[in-house]
């Protein structure tokens, strides 16, 4: 606490400046005041606000041009596009070193599943994305491709998804599961025809889940009547009461424009308009993140101001200071108690409850599906309906697994908010004792913790916990989608004869076919049960692990903020206490030092 900081200009980054300028100024103030703990806190908050990821899932039915659209948006061929094969695993395209690509694979079956990552490129990467079930017995569950592009650099993460409604492994019709935990969705439909009933249904679901949905009509270069289709689509959306913008685009025009650096054709492609919409959404996103950053900066400033004003009061008026020191001492003790206090127990208990809740939900849901599947096996011939049965089963399970993860996410958010509230109350109590006219240090704690709660809850900016949750989530989801296909397809569909009745002369066959049917049903039932057990085991394990990580993350975050608050309270007490015993000359010099510091800090704070 030397005097150097007083020479710093005070007005440059006042409340009128951008939040980043205020952050920089506050940070250097913290450095000068030797508060490295607050510096770390500000750095973390700053890093989080600088990269407010916007996860945009590109979804839609099979073969509508999703991968081409992703390529057109990032102006290069990152996602493989083929006439015949389609994207079979979610492919994340994010900002990073150009050309870096990693696929995640799982090996093994049943309870010995292991997940590995492999760096790939070129044809090999292409092949892994389109044929997720590998010859060596491994299964691809996802891919991440990095490229250096402006849109991505701003924080947009594009996720190319397998089509809804294809027939291969990994294709689902469940909007919920294919959207994963994306913030926004680009729904892709081509200009060959108007929206179908199933597409509208999907859009309806997507609209409920995502903060923003755009309906993109692709291939406008190819279909002469594209503008009619766009109008029809707008009409369908209006009739359905969905406020979703329809954007016509041509990915191939865009790629031509990129190759030939042709601005006119680029504009014609409609892609810049889509990029603009996405960026506008990102801007809104950034504003929210910046607002939150501003609050955190204020919170840090409040701590510093409270601390220094307390000291200033004490050096100015030692008699009043005696009373103040008593108050500060009591406040310090309260904060100390808070640091080691009950909230940790509350958090641990909350996590335990959450774990059993999630576990129960998972079991109950899988049990219901299993019972339903069982009933349907009893009235059908698995040989005839197996492939469809399999698809429906996987789809339903994926939907339920998704619901369980959403439940976990929501409950974890509730828990964080509850703990924050506890801390807030404790803080307010601690602060009430400080009967001085400065911002209450208790707010600091409350605000810091509430911030984290918002991270978890609204998914607008990614806290560490949420990232963990998300990455584990998509892995598990893909596991349910493909991972266990091996156990499902283990039922070799026995040779059967739909028309055998005729060949055999019909009546004699019946007994034999009854016996075979019973056998097939037993086989199908066993395979279905095995699959459900597998899913239950893996999802159960992953949710437990995730909750443990979440627990640690929340504890550490709260702890750090509590520590800072305690430190502020202690230092305020010490400084005020020491000031009382100093001689008049020293006090005067100190007051002259402190007054501009406080003024400067107050100028930095908004309102």
């Amino acid at each position: 606490m030397d005097g150097r900081h007083t020479t710093e200009p005070t007005s440059r980054a006042s409340a009128g400046g951008s939040v980043h300028e205020r952050l920089r100024a506050t940070r250097s103030a913290c450095e000068h005041l030797d508060r490295d703990d607050l510096v770390t806190q500000l750095d973390q908050a700053g890093a989080r606000a600088r990269t407010p990821e916007l996860r945009v899932a590109v979804v839609g039915e099979f073969k509508q041009g999703k991968s081409s659209l992703v390529n057109a948006l990032v102006q290069r061929e990152v996602c493989p596009v083929e006439d015949d094969l389609a994207t079979a695993v979610p492919t994340v395209v994010r900002h990073g070193t150009e050309g870096e690509a990693v696929v995640t694979l799982v090996t093994g079956a049943g309870e010995d599943v292991e997940s590995i990552e492999r760096t790939l490129g070129g044809d090999e990467l292409r092949d892994h994305i389109m044929r997720p079930i590998r010859d060596d017995g491994t299964r691809v569950t996802g891919a991440t491709i990095s490229c250096d592009n402006r849109l991505l650099g701003r924080g947009v993460v594009l996720i190319d998804t397998p089509g809804v409604g294809g027939t291969g492994a990994g294709h689902t019709r469940n909007a919920v599961s294919s959207l994963g935990l994306a913030d926004a969705a680009v729904f892709v439909t081509d200009a060959s025809q108007e929206l179908t009933a199933s597409e509208l249904d999907y859009l309806r679901q997507a609209d409920e889940i995502c903060s923003s949905v755009w309906c993109v009509v692709t291939k406008t270069d190819f279909y002469p009547d594209w503008s009619t289709v766009v109008e029809l689509d707008r009409g369908h959306l209006r009739t359905a009461g969905l406020d979703i913008p329809v954007v016509p685009v041509s990915s191939s025009l865009r790629m031509f424009a990129v190759r030939h650096r042709d601005a006119e054709i680029n504009a014609e492609s409609g892609i810049p308009e889509l990029a603009r919409l996405i960026e506008a959404h990102l801007d809104a996103h950034v504003r929210v993140a910046e607002g939150r950053l501003g609050e955190q900066v204020d919170a840090v400033l409040d701590q510093l101001i409270a601390h220094h004003r307390a000291e200033l009061e004490a050096v100015r008026d030692p008699d009043a200071g005696a009373h103040l020191v008593e108050q500060l001492e009591e406040a310090r003790d309260r904060f100390d108690a808070l640091r080691s206090g009950r909230w940790k127990q509350g958090l641990a208990d909350g996590i335990t409850d959450l774990r059993s809740e999630v576990d129960f939900e998972l079991r109950a849901r899988i049990k219901d599906i299993s019972a339903e599947a069982d009933a349907s096996i009893n009235v059908t011939d698995p040989a005839e309906v197996w492939s469809e049965f399999e698809a429906v089963l996987v789809d339903k399970i994926a939907g339920e697994v998704d619901a369980v993860y959403r439940l976990m996410l929501e409950s974890a958010g509730d828990l964080a908010r509850r703990i924050a509230l506890d801390l807030d109350n404790a803080g307010v109590e601690a602060g009430r004792i400080l009967d001085i006219d400065v911002a209450d240090p208790a707010d600091v704690l409350a605000r810091a913790t509430i911030d984290d709660e918002i991270d978890l809850k609204t998914t607008t900016s990614i806290g560490a916990g949420l990232t963990l949750l998300r990455s584990s989530y998509s892995g598990v989801l893909m596991f349910t989608m493909l991972g266990s296909m091996a156990s499902l397809s283990a039922v070799a569909v026995p040779p059967l004869a739909i028309g055998a009745g005729l060949v055999f002369g019909r009546k004699g066959l019946r007994d034999e076919s009854e016996r075979l049917l019973t056998q097939r049903r037993a086989q199908a039932r066993a395979a279905m049960k095995r699959y459900c057990d597998d899913v239950g085991f893996h999802v159960g394990k992953d949710t437990r692990d995730t909750l443990n990580r979440l627990h640690r993350t929340m504890r550490d975050t709260f702890q750090t903020h509590a520590d800072s608050a305690v430190r502020s309270a202690r230092e305020a007490h010490q400084a005020a206490d020491a000031a009382r015993r100093q001689d008049a000359e020293t006090r005067k010099r100190r007051a002259a030092e402190l007054a501009p510091t406080v003024a400067r800090l107050e100028a930095l704070r908004t309102s």
Binding site: T167, A197, F222, P495, A500, V503
Partner: protein
């Protein structure tokens, strides 16, 4: 169909007896339907290109096509001496409808009737391509308009099952809903559209590669994969890629259109490339060559792929007249191949398919009567179904498809029982130029193989039955060869 086959005569006789004895309307309908040409329904999802394909097959722009949903009522197109259109209502009454024929389509005036009251439209048209083939256009399933979807489902799975002999199912690059609809076709084991009488068309094939000139090659590759894959193999006889719009245009090409293509072909290749980047660019390109209205019309008729392909063909001198280009386009569009497949797999078996439709229809009618009402008729139906060799072949084909077995034995059996076509050469896998001796040898070799497999203790029971059918088929082939040789 000049000399009715023994099977058909037998079925006709049986139906006549049944009509006398039972006196149900349904039996009379079956008997009359037996004398009609082969009836093929064209089905598929909304906008799969059903009406366009129908026009291509008829060789006339008759069924209305367009960007929105155009076909909302099941419509029959059959040969008739006069141009006539009737609406058949649900209450069984028929009403004649006024219509107008424009250059591009047929405009039917529903005359105040509600689409929901109409069971079907019946269009009689004196055109040669409908003489031995009646085509049915159906509204798409998975329509946003639930009524329309329901009408088609009802049509394909219940109502008219007794009168449809075969189905051409249009798929766009496989979609789950398609498969489910196909499965609904054969929900009972021995009946109705099944691999025996269903052909899948990978429609709008020119769109698969976004109009690249190699689009059709891609489409062909995809069709092959579908044909080889279990799910579809179980459901259909063959998968054929067709660019319906191009096929339709090929068969209705005008000299004026050819002249426009000629003028476009003279534009320097580089300018053409830029103008063909998008439909909007093409329409807006140099009006002194071809004006905007004519350009828009060309797109509507050919599609972007068709325009690219045709100008390319004209520029390279591959086709120098309207007739020549029509032929190349019909070939490139896959229409020629589809017509060949229809001939080989459906038309050549028209008699058997019609007999089958009729006998299964009768079986169903008898089944609806109180049990034991006409035990002798039921027994005759059973006997025909069990003994008539052509029907046993069809059933065996279905069973083979369901096995999803592409081993050498299954493939040989499939060929012998007519799975690749019913001519002697097709059954033996011999080219048309093989000598009678070579054919005889091939037949004996196959016969020996099937005999062996039938006696082999490791052959499963259903395969043994299949061998039996194949042996019988070859015996008939050998008898034919002897007859021809004598």
């Amino acid at each position: 169909m000049t000399t009715p086959s023994p099977l058909r005569s037998e079925v006709a006789a049986l139906l006549a007896d049944a009509e006398d004895r039972i006196g149900l309307d349904g039996v009379g309908d079956l008997r009359r339907a037996l004398d009609e040409p082969l009836t093929v329904a064209i089905a598929g999802k909304v906008k799969a290109g059903k009406s366009t394909l129908l026009n291509a097959l008829i060789g006339m722009r008759i069924a209305p096509t367009g960007t929105g949903e155009t076909t909302r009522i099941v419509t029959w197109y059959r040969h008739g001496p006069r141009y006539e259109i009737h609406a058949e209502l649900h209450d069984g009454s028929r009403r004649r409808l006024p219509f107008e024929r424009t250059a591009s389509e047929l405009e039917i005036d529903l005359d105040g009737l509600d689409a929901n009251d109409i069971r079907r439209l019946d269009v009689a048209w004196p055109t040669p391509s409908l003489v031995d083939l009646t085509l049915i256009d159906t509204p798409g399933v998975d329509s946003i308009n639930d009524d329309v979807s329901a009408r088609t489902r009802r049509f394909l799975t219940e109502e008219d099952r007794t009168t449809v002999d075969a189905v051409v199912y249009l798929l766009r690059h496989t979609h789950e809903t398609d498969l489910r609809l196909l499965e609904a076709f054969h929900d009972d084991s021995i009946n109705r559209p099944d691999p025996v009488n269903t052909i899948a068309v990978l429609s709008r094939s020119d769109e698969i590669a976004g109009g690249r000139l190699d689009s059709m090659a891609s489409a062909r590759r995809i069709s092959r994969r579908y044909t080889d894959r279990g799910e579809l193999r179980r459901l259909v006889q063959a998968v054929v890629p067709v660019a319906g719009l191009l096929g339709e245009t090929a068969r209705t090409l005008t000299q004026a259109e050819f002249d426009d293509l000629g003028r476009l072909a003279e534009v320097p290749a580089r300018d053409v490339e830029r103008s063909l980047l998008s439909v909007d660019r093409f329409v807006a390109a140099d009006p002194t060559v071809v004006d905007a209205a004519a350009r828009a019309e060309l797109l509507r008729r050919f599609g972007l792929f068709g325009v690219k392909l045709s100008t390319n063909l004209v520029r390279r001198g591959v086709a120098d007249s309207a007739e020549a280009i029509a032929e190349v386009l019909a070939d490139r569009s896959g229409l020629t191949e589809l017509r060949d497949v229809l001939d080989r797999l459906l038309r050549s078996r028209a008699d058997v398919l019609k007999a089958r439709t009729a006998i299964l229809g009768l079986e169903r009618l008898l089944g609806e009567l109180p049990s034991g009402t006409h035990p002798d008729l039921a027994e005759r139906v059973d006997r025909v179904l069990g003994n008539a060799h052509p029907l046993r072949e069809l059933a065996a084909l279905a069973s083979l498809r369901a096995r999803n077995d592409d081993g050498p034995l299954a493939t040989s059996i499939e060929r012998a029982i007519g799975g690749h076509g019913t001519s002697v050469g097709q059954r033996l896998g011999c080219g048309e130029d093989t000598s009678a001796d070579e054919r005889r040898n091939a037949a004996w070799a196959d016969l020996a193989l099937f005999h062996d497999q039938r006696e082999n203790p490791f052959t499963d029971a259903s395969m043994k039955e299949l061998c039996d059918v194949a042996v019988r088929s070859l015996e008939i082939v050998l008898a034919d060869l002897e007859l021809a040789g004598a």
